[in-house]
Subunit: 517 residues, 2 copies
Amino acid sequence: MDNGARMIWGREDRESASDKIILDYIKNRFGVSDVIEWDGIYRRKNLGENSELLSLISQCLPPDRISFRSEDRILHSMGKSAMEYASIMDGVDVPIVDAVIYPEEDEIECIMNKLRGKGIIISYGGGTSVTGGLRPNSQHGYAVSLDTRNLNVFNLDERSMVLEAGSGLLGPDIERRLNERGLTLGNFPESFQFSTLGGWIATNAAGQESNRYGKVRDMVLGIKMISPRGTFTDHVVPAESAFFRVADIGIGSEGTFGIITRAWLKVRRVPDRYYYKAYMFRNFSEGLEVLRNEFTSGRSRMVARLSDDQETSLSLLAAGDSAAYRLFRSYLRYRGVHDSGSILVVMDDSKIDIKGGVGLGPAPAKMWSRTRFDRPYLYNELIRHGIIADTIETSVLWSKAQDLYSAVVSAFRNESDRLKIPSIIMCHASHEYISGTALYFTFLFYSRKNKADVLRSLRGAILNAILASGGSISHHHGIGQYLSDLLPAYKGSAFELMSQLKHFLDPDNMLNPQIIK
Amino acid sequence: MDNGARMIWGREDRESASDKIILDYIKNRFGVSDVIEWDGIYRRKNLGENSELLSLISQCLPPDRISFRSEDRILHSMGKSAMEYASIMDGVDVPIVDAVIYPEEDEIECIMNKLRGKGIIISYGGGTSVTGGLRPNSQHGYAVSLDTRNLNVFNLDERSMVLEAGSGLLGPDIERRLNERGLTLGNFPESFQFSTLGGWIATNAAGQESNRYGKVRDMVLGIKMISPRGTFTDHVVPAESAFFRVADIGIGSEGTFGIITRAWLKVRRVPDRYYYKAYMFRNFSEGLEVLRNEFTSGRSRMVARLSDDQETSLSLLAAGDSAAYRLFRSYLRYRGVHDSGSILVVMDDSKIDIKGGVGLGPAPAKMWSRTRFDRPYLYNELIRHGIIADTIETSVLWSKAQDLYSAVVSAFRNESDRLKIPSIIMCHASHEYISGTALYFTFLFYSRKNKADVLRSLRGAILNAILASGGSISHHHGIGQYLSDLLPAYKGSAFELMSQLKHFLDPDNMLNPQIIK
Ligand SMILES: Cc1cc2nc3c(=O)[nH]c(=O)nc-3n(C[C@H](O)[C@H](O)[C@H](O)COP(=O)(O)OP(=O)(O)OC[C@H]3O[C@@H](n4cnc5c(N)ncnc54)[C@H](O)[C@@H]3O)c2cc1C
Ligand SMILES: Cc1cc2nc3c(=O)[nH]c(=O)nc-3n(C[C@H](O)[C@H](O)[C@H](O)COP(=O)(O)OP(=O)(O)OC[C@H]3O[C@@H](n4cnc5c(N)ncnc54)[C@H](O)[C@@H]3O)c2cc1C
């Protein structure tokens, strides 16, 4: 595939019966035909080699770790966001990096020196960014994608449960090697299979089990970061009182402060066993209140995913119209939960006993767990039919969660009415804290034309409602290019602290230049 | 007391029988007489009012919140460190602040403006600093101590378990008001009774129950900080992916980046009950290995204090020569633990069952808990007799803990031999992590003259051994003036990040100027 690259999720397709049911339901509801609007491959012609750029960077690394191939360059110029897919489907020309490099750690300084004043470097981990964080900008001279895959040290201090790991390691690389020793890092974002440690750190990611293992900020003892200004490394100690660590500013820095080349991480023992349980609530509001009660009382669970009515009905739909499913629905009605309701799936390493709701036994939670990394494959099918599915997530104190939820849903519905497009919005509480919860909104729409514009309007409506309701600008996806315009107002004067550090670390603005403006 | 201030611990003395036993033992061992060398009050004459300074700052705050009184100024010019006591006993003139002010939040900006180019501001919380962090420097014009006691907001969002609290609140103020609602912040440094929230944040303090509640860095959702450059405030959300927060750099900044005026903190429910248990190990090394096993396996306990042989024998001594105590010793011998041994006291909110060691039942742990804030009163007695007691603490990975411990003890003994002074060093593991432990060294010595020089040499020997063994420069006391010379080398190039931010936030170097040089 020399003039194109597969942009949709995974190396190949996957078929699932429940995806088919949901796809048909949505196509039907949106009035979308069977026509494939896009096959998921982005093609571009005439991406030639640039000899000046080649001669610059080949002073730092051997030719077999420099690529000008179209497929590589296309792949490295985008993440996996709805906005990028929408632009492609709108027929807009997406900016493409001029080269992809695969350096080792000690070559990075040289590359920065050679490109200074001549181009920009965009760190590329697994390419699962959903914030436009990987998108190059041609205004800055050459755009080079620095793929971290060769940053792959792996040293385990098992006595101290500390892993030193290269930022280019993928989720499964890390977990497989730790699991062999009965250990785990415990970071399982939905993108786990294709995302890297460096990407996780750069975005302060949150895995599905973050209630137990924390966000990345809680896992990292220290990092090594290479910037145009120099190389910065933390001490590897359990805790210290000595101002801030490199990690404190490097986590969440999205490739703008430096390239994170390795990190030291706390690891844990894999739990002996897991327990699963699901509950049904009359509505989202009732479920949220039960979660609040549990988490504010210190009864945290590894995973507690509470879906609102819309998401619940779609996931029940996916269960199919089997006899078992009909029986299940009549049981729910018997227990006082009617056609709309809010499902909570819980997974933990100790017995689960949540006070409130109607217990559904373990099956729905086990089902969630079995398919926990599969949702993006369903999205592939939607995208092929021209249906855009995007997500926006936030976190909010318990005291404001209900209002935020209502505000977002109504803002979205108003905007979508105004635009006169068929759409769905749904939500789940995805990660819980003592003080509040992350709320993860998924929305779908169909528009034959101007998909990117429509998407931008809908996103804007959701984000404004979130910010007006006291939610965080992002709980785990990060800022990237799509939120960078909102960042200065969100941060207020604290934005100056970021710009100062940015300016110090990267005076020529050569690292991911479009995020901190 | 207009020409002096009580510098030793507490508002008044306390007598305890066990303190008397230990005091006598040490006096005996060191060959120290009964003479009182210092009464614990520091006196200075001729501390007049400065009218220019008064007219400057009275533009910002009313006269009843400005003090030129000797007692106030002396008290605000020092912390509670052995180094400060040693200097006083050596007869050295300690630098004294020119005024003490007690501003409200909205007066701080004005004060910074008026003092710019004319003086420095040292934030003063409870004055329990042990790092020289409060010591003024006359090279910088006027030195003004900014006492935070009027920064005392207290707003509880109980639904979200979030407390907004003023930095000037003392430990007991916070806990009492939370306890009324069945809640706790959970930060109990030994200095709890006289230290403030702002001091805790500025030093990234660790309470005795930090294994459960975390260090301050783990408790804080956000801070408000006022710097000469402006005011910076965090969003109050459970978690975010949006670069770093003000808290990420403000925690541990020791008054050098700005004055922390308030913070938003996670609170928890007070546990239903506490369990206590103590264990005896043949030696420190055996005990450390058991702790390592427990904590790396995820079996964390709220408090687990493991004393080395020296500290154990002193604490057994304190138990007195009662019949019960003799019985206890014979029991230990019967169980195979002889005169030297290492005691572990454990407190938790669930049943304690540690594998290894000889169980001693709950009594020693309950005793520890009852007297957990009392040690400084014993130190008062030592100081009066001219005996210096100091502490240096670090944190280290489990894999390096044993070696660090041995290196410190032998470095200390060598140095103390070289100096030909009587001394004792002891240690306990004070705060444990999955990855390692904090080690808290206490050392005592007697020198008739040049106490400060001797102390400096002993501290140097310990610190060098710690740093050479991979320990952190400090686990929870912070840097202050005593470690500021070591900080640049410890931080390496990362020190530049701190200086950059310092320079940005405080371009005239008017806030605690002697820490980041
Ligand atoms: C289907 C799907 C599900 C997702 N689920 C989750 C989820 O559950 N939780 C979650 O947190 N996120 C999730 N994400 C978002 C994304 O997976 C995360 O942001 C992830 O951390 C990115 O890792 P990556 O290796 O793919 O990084 P990339 O996408 O390659 O890069 C992400 C950003 O980090 C920068 N970067 C990458 N590596 C480095 C480095 N070594 N040094 C400095 N900067 C670097 C890049 O320049 C870019 O700005 C999901 C995304 C998708 C598409
Ligand atoms: C006997 C004893 C026991 C101790 N035990 C512990 C312990 O168990 N754990 C522990 O962590 N520490 C301990 N300490 C050290 C000390 O108590 C802590 O550092 C504490 O956090 C200091 O709080 P404070 O309010 O007394 O601050 P201060 O001593 O008044 O100030 C400490 C530092 O913070 C700065 N500062 C204070 N308030 C602010 C503010 N609002 N904004 C900006 N900067 C500010 C000061 O300028 C100074 O540099 C102990 C000290 C003593 C004497």
